[in-house]
Symmetry: C2
Subunit: 122 residues, 2 copies
């Protein structure tokens, strides 16, 4: 299945060795830059405190090891990541978010509201 | 970016109108059938109570409407879903899980342990 980027992440992590292992540990603010033709998809997103970001690992060539699915390694069968981030502010087609662990220039595939009752089952 | 299926979901939902809106409301047990060549990736997964499943909406042609990213509609820019499911049992290359909202025959792209401290930030 082919995935199409709807935007790009602008973060301060230029290389893998600088990125946090999990975004939840990062307090830096990154920008989710949505391409102009997709800006209307964002309508109403500003009312959520947190969003789930689905993005690509554009600098990793998948080569998963035995047990990879039992870990959170970025070396997975498909180079895709999911992270819950804090939505600080929307500025038109750009979302300022906190908690991103992605490298700069990573493609954005989807964003959706984080809803605790759905995403954090007991 | 091209995504490669590592397995297939066997659920009781043959058609969109039968599927629950969110898997968290489903108590049915579905099977995540991992292809034999990827079975070793599952090593150790049986010690987790919940896993995050990343899968494809194989029967939906993306045609997102304005505001789609502010909702949980399956009609998204990319036909990919994320759901947290309860891992009931592992039987070799098959995981029995509860809480799937996916249609039967949906492709599986990734599975990872659900870790509350990471996936449910305060």
């Amino acid at each position: 299945m082919n995935m199409k980027a709807i935007g790009v992440i602008r973060s301060m992590f230029a290389r893998t060795e600088n990125a946090p292992h999990q975004g939840v540990h990062s307090r830096e603010v990154a920008r989710l830059v949505i391409f102009p033709e997709h800006e209307s998809l964002l309508e109403g997103i500003e009312r959520f405190e947190k969003v789930m970001l689905i993005y690509g690992f554009n600098k990793i060539k998948p080569d998963p090891k035995p047990g990879a699915l039992a870990t959170r390694t970025p070396n997975r069968p498909n180079p895709i990541g999911v992270v819950v981030v804090e939505l600080v502010e929307r500025r038109g087609s750009v979302l300022l978010v906190r908690g991103v662990d992605a490298l700069d220039a990573s493609p954005i595939f989807d964003i959706k509201p984080f809803i605790r009752e759905i995403d954090c089952p007991d």
